[in-house]
Symmetry: D2
C-alpha cells in the first residue's frame, strides 16, 4: 500500500514518514511539500539516510498516487486536498484543525479566522479520536473514502484524561450553572509542538532552562477540548485551558482538575488519609476498567504518576489518577508524546481503522525510558 504525506517536511510530516516507513502494510511512500518541492526528504532530515529516500513532490502528485493521504499542513489548506483525495476515491487524514469541528463552523471560524469553503465535506468527515469515535470512524470508512480530522495534541491528552470521569458521571462540572465548577486543564508541551520554522519563541537560548505559560486563556485548542468534554459528559462543561512551554523536545503532560462535588473544604489541608487512598483506588479501578480494551491508554498503578518520559516515542497515553486531600476534586495526570499520540501516531491509528488493519499496526514501539 502506498501512503502519501503532504507537508512531509514539517515536524508532523517527518514523524509520519518515520513511522510509516516502519509500518508493515506500507510498501511505499509518496511525499509532498509546497515549500521544498523538488528537494528530497533525506536532505531535509539526514536522520532518514539509508532508510527512507524520496523526492518531495507537488501535493497533486501525492494525491494522484497514494492509497491514503495524510495532510500535515497549517489550518486552512485541508479542504482542497481532502476533496481531491475523495474524488480519487482515497481517504484523507487531516492533521490540521480543518476537520475537527464537524459542522460547527462558527467555532472554527471564531478561532481560526476563516470560513469553511466546502462545508459539505463534513458529511464525509469524522473527528479522529479513536477512543471516543472508533465506531463512527469505522462506520464512515465502511461507506468508502472519507476524511478524518486528526485531533490536536493538547486535546488528545486532556480529553483522554477526563473521559472516564465524565462518561461515568463522577463530576458535577457544568451540571448546574454556578455550582458545578469548571474543569481546568493545565498542560506543558515540549518545543517540537512549535514546528520546524525558526522563530524567537522557540530559539534555543530563549526557551532553554525556562518554563513559561503562553496564550493563557486564548489557545486555539480550547474549543476542541471543550467540544470533546461536552461529548463525553453529554452536556456542556465549562473549561479553562492553560498551555505552557517546557524545555524539552517531546511530550505533553496535562494536569486536569475535575470537580467531584459542589462542596469545598476550607480547613487547613492535611495529608491524605486512608479514606482518600481508598476513594482514589476506586476511581483508578473505574478508569482502568473504562480503558480495559484500549491498546494505547495505560492507567497507571498506585504510586506511579503520568510523565512524558515514560511515553517517549510511543503512541501511548498514560493516565494517573489522584484526589485532593479534601476529596472534592479529581486530579488526573495524563502524558503523551505530542508527535506520536498527539499527531503522527494517532493519524496512523486512524489509517489503520480506515483500512481495516490491526489498530496497533506500525505503532508497537516501546517507549524509551531515556
Amino acid at each position: 500500500m502506498i501512503a502519501g504525506v503532504i507537508g512531509a517536511a514539517g515536524y508532523a510530516g517527518a514523524e509520519l514518514v518515520r513511522l510509516l516507513a516502519g509500518h508493515p502494510e506500507v510498501s511505499a511512500l509518496v511525499l509532498g511539500s509546497v515549500s521544498l518541492e523538488g528537494g528530497r526528504i533525506e536532505e531535509v532530515y539526514p536522520n532518514l539516510l539509508g532508510r527512507v529516500s524520496a523526492a518531495l513532490e507537488k501535493p497533486e502528485a501525492v494525491i494522484a498516487r497514494a492509497d491514503v493521504v495524510f495532510g500535515a499542513l497549517p489550518a486552512g489548506l485541508g479542504e482542497g486536498y481532502a476533496a481531491a483525495s475523495l474524488e480519487r476515491g482515497v481517504s484523507y487524514i487531516d492533521l490540521s484543525a480543518d476537520f475537527r469541528f464537524d459542522d460547527d463552523e462558527p467555532t472554527y471560524t471564531a478561532w481560526y479566522g476563516k470560513p469553511y469553503k466546502r462545508p459539505e465535506l463534513r458529511r464525509r468527515s469524522v473527528y479522529g479520536l479513536p477512543e471516543l469515535n472508533r465506531a463512527r470512524i469505522k462506520a464512515l470508512a465502511a461507506q468508502g473514502a472519507c476524511i478524518v480530522g486528526n485531533p490536536g495534541c493538547y486535546p488528545t491528552g486532556a480529553s483522554l484524561g477526563a473521559y472516564p470521569a465524565l462518561a461515568r458521571g463522577l463530576s458535577g462540572a457544568g451540571v448546574r450553572e454556578g455550582t458545578g465548577g469548571v474543569i481546568i486543564v493545565d498542560s506543558a508541551s515540549g518545543v517540537t509542538g512549535g514546528g520546524r520554522e525558526p522563530q524567537r519563541s522557540f530559539h534555543f537560548s530563549e526557551c532553554f532552562d525556562s518554563l513559561a505559560p503562553y496564550k493563557v486563556g486564548s489557545h486555539r485548542h480550547s474549543p476542541e477540548i471543550a467540544r470533546n468534554l461536552a461529548k463525553m459528559a453529554g452536556r456542556p462543561v465549562p473549561l479553562i485551558f492553560t498551555p505552557h512551554l517546557a524545555p524539552m523536545n517531546r511530550g505533553i503532560q496535562s494536569t486536569i482538575y475535575i470537580p467531584l462535588t459542589a462542596g469545598w473544604d476550607a480547613a487547613a489541608p492535611r495529608p491524605p488519609g486512608a479514606e482518600i487512598v481508598a476513594k482514589t483506588a476506586g476511581i483508578r479501578e473505574l478508569y482502568a476498567d473504562f480503558y480495559r480494551d484500549e491498546p494505547f491508554v495505560r492507567v497507571l498503578p498506585e504510586g506511579a504518576v503520568a510523565s512524558t518520559g515514560r511515553v517517549r516515542h510511543s503512541n501511548f497515553c498514560d493516565i494517573s489518577v489522584h484526589l485532593d486531600p479534601a476529596g472534592s476534586t479529581l486530579i488526573v495526570a495524563s502524558a503523551i508524546d505530542n508527535m506520536v499520540k498527539g499527531a503522527a501516531g494517532q493519524a496512523i491509528q486512524n489509517m489503520n481503522l480506515l483500512l481495516g488493519y490491526a489498530e496497533t499496526a506500525g505503532l508497537m514501539a516501546i517507549p524509551a525510558s531515556f
Copy 2:
C-alpha cells in the same frame, strides 16, 4: 558584620554563601556543616575558588561567632540552633519549615511528623514573607534577637501571585461553602529544589527531557500555602496544590486559578473579547498598584507572561495577570528563582529587615536573560 550559615554545603546553603559573599554589609562568613565538618566550602563548591575560602565548622562554632545565623537544614533541627542563637543575642533565620507555622503545631506535626520541642520559641519567631509580614518582622526585630521562619519555595511564588486578589476581595473562594470554589496552584520547579544529595528522582537520566507531577495532593508545602492564603483573604480558602518537576535547574513557575464569581459559562470557549481585555487590564492595574512599593515584585505589562527565564538568579517575583475567556476565573502566573526569592535571597531580605539594612542590599542582581 559576620554572617553565619549552618548547612552551608547544601544547595540553599551554597546559594547563601554566594549571595552573602557579595553583600555590602557582610565582612566575613563563618560556615557550618554537620556532614562535611572539617572540609572547606571551596572544595565542595569549586565555583567559589578565588572568591570564598572558608572552613566548614561545627554548628556551635558558627553560632559562637556570627552576628546573624542562617540555618539551611532539613526540618526538625532548627529549634536547638535557634535557641542557642537567641541565647547569644543574635537572630536566627531558619530556611526549614520549623518556624513557618507559628503556634499551629498540629499542622506542622501532621505534615512533618514531629512535635515542637520548644514551642515557646514561637513567641520570638515570625513568618518571613516580607511582602506579607514586613511590619511584624521589623517590630519583632526592634525588640531584640529573634527568629524568622523563611518561607518555602512554592509558597513564596504561589502566595505572592494570589495576594492582591485575596486582599482586595476579588475572589469569592471560600466565602460560602459549596459555592465559592477552590484556589488551584499548579506549579513546576527546577531540579535544584530536590537538593544536593543524589537520588534516583533527580538522577539526570531520569528527569532530563521529561515533565512529571509528583506528590499530587500530598506535598508538604500545601498547608503553608493555605495558611498564607487564609491570612491574605481573612478567611480560610480551599486550596489544591500540584507540584511538577521540570527539566531545568532553577525556577518555579506557578499558574494560579482564582475563582472570581460563582457563575461558570459552559458555552463553547471563544477567543477573549474586548470586554475581557479591559477587565484584565483593570485587575493588572490593581495588582501593579498593590505591589507599587515592593522592591522585588514585578507585575508585568500586558502581553508579557511570567516565566522562570526572566527572573533567573535574581530575587524578583514576576507576576502576570490573565483572565479566562468567560471572565470567571483569574489566572495568575508567577515566577521566581527557587534558590533566590524561594530560599537564600529571601532569607537575606529578611536579614536586611532584621538588621536595618536597605532591604535590597546584596540582592540587586539583574536577572540574566540567558
Copy 3:
C-alpha cells in the same frame, strides 16, 4: 527463541529488553537481576507497561532457560556466567570489558584491577565489533556456542571513525617513532553512559547546563580503542583519548584527529581552498566505499556533520570526513547512540550474527530527528 538478559535492571539491560521485545525472532524474554531479584521489570521501568511483563530472576534461572544470554553487568562478573552458558550450550554476549581483550590479560588487569579467573574461555570468545570482526564472529559461531565481548561505547564510535583511514594506509600515525604523530580521540557522551545508580556526577543539578571533561588521560576505554586501532592499522598506533560529559541523555560524538603526513604548516590558517575540498572529497569517497556494504555505518555526504541528534535511538554510526586547512590532518566526526550501537543494539547485532538471523533484524529503527 528465548533471549535471556542478566543485569536487566541496569540501563544497558533495560535497552536490551526494549529492543529484544521488538525483535522478530525473539518469542520470549527471561530476565535476571542480582540486586532486584524478585521484582518485575515493568515496576523498575514503567515505560514497559503493557508491552513487556517479566519477573526479575536469579542469573542462574536465566541461563537455565535462555537460547542466548546477554550479560549487562559490571566488569568482573562475566566469566562465571559465560562458562555456565557454554556448558548449557548457549552463547553468551558480554557487555562488560571481560571479554574485550582476548588473551591480553595484562592490559585488562592493568585497567580493571583483576586477573582473568578462567583465561581459557578466551579460546571461545571474540571481540564483537562486527565491522572489524564479522568473519571471525561467524566462524566461531559455526563451531558452536561461544562468547562475544561486546565493545565499549566510546571504542565503537572512535574505532569505526578511524578504521578506513588506518586500513587504507592514509595515516602515518605510529609508523616511525617520533615522526608519525598520535591519533587523538576527543569524545562527548550523554549521561546515560553513567548508568542507573544515582551518584553526584550524574545528579541533574550537577551536570545540567555544563560540559566537562573527565578521567582525562585515564579512561578505561583507552586501551580498547588503542587495541582496535592497532588491529586496523596493522601496527601499534599512539593514542590520546579524552572523554567529556555532555548535558544530554544519549549519544556519543567523537572528533578524531588522524595525522596524514609528517609535515605541519605553521603559517596563519586560511579558509579551506579548492584543493582541500577536492582532497576531502576523495577521502570521503574512500570512506563511503570502505563501508559500502555495512548496514549500520553511514558516511555522510558533503556538508553534513555527524551529530548525535541524527542517530538517536538507532543502531547507526554516522561518520563525516573533514580536513584541516593545511591538509595535514584528517578530522573525522563520528556519532552513535551510546545505548544502541554503543551497547544493546550492537549486542543484538552480534546475536544476529551468532544465530544466523539477518544482521539487521530488530535493529531497523529509523533515528528520530527530534
Copy 4:
C-alpha cells in the same frame, strides 16, 4: 561615567547592559540599536524591568553622549563607529573581529571577506586580551582615546589555556617543520554563541539533546587563535581548531592538546603512573605560578577539571592541567562563560584598564554552581 553600547539588543549587547548596570563607576547607560531603534531595551529584554530602562537610539546618539563606547555588532561595522568615537575623544571597545588582527589585513580579509576601510585606525588599536596585552592596553590608553579589539569567545579560552606552556617553552610545537606537531583545540560552546536571531541551527528542537561539530577546519576564530599562539610562543605554531555546539546556553569548554616532545609511545596505553602524576603536578605549578597575579584566571588544583558549570555568569577562565599517560602531550582543559569572559565581561575588563578603574570593578560576580 556614561557607558554607551551600540548593538545593545543583541546577546552580547544585552550582557553588556546587564553587567554595566551593576558597575560601580557607571552612572548611566546610553544604548544604540540599528534594527530596533525607537524601542526600549526593557521591552526587548523584560528581565531588565525595574533595573534598567533605556531607549534604543541611533548609534550616533550613543557616540555623542558616552564616555566610552562598546560596539557589539557584526564584523565590518566597527571602523566607522570607532573613528567617530576617537574624534569625540572617547575610546571604542569593539566586540567584533574588526580590530583583532591589527595590521594583518590579509588574514582579516581572507576570513571575513572585506578589506579594511580605514587601516590607519590600527595605529590606535590594541588586541584586548588583558592577560597577554595588559601593558600595551594601558600604554595605549595613556596616550588618549583608543580602540580595543575585544577577543573572540573561542580564542579567549583556547589562548589562555595554552599561554603558559608556550611562553615557558614546554612545547616544541612548530619548532621544526615536520616534527614538532600541531596544537589541537577541540571546543564546545553553548548556543548563546549563535546570537539572538532565530535560525534553524539554533532552533530548540534542532540542537537540544544533541552534540554536533560545525565548521570543522573552517571557523573564523582559527586565525585569531593561531595569531595568539604565535605571539605567546614567539614563533608560528600549527593549529587545528574544531568547534562543537553543545545543548546548553552558556559556556565554552576547550580541550587543548599541546605536544611536549617529538616522541610518541605506541605501546598499549596504561593507567597513568606516579611519574605522570608528578610531571603533571610540576606543570600545574608552573601554570599556577604563571597566572598568580591574574584576577580572572584560576588554575584548578589536582583532581578538578575545568567545566563550564563552574564559571557560569562569571568572568573567570578556569584551567586544569593533564598529561597523557605516555607523557608526551599536555592536555589542558579551559572553561569560560562565553558571554562574560568570552565577550561582555572581558570588554568591561578592557574598559577598566582603559579608564584606570580597578580591573575587577563590576566583574566580581561569583559563579553560580547551578
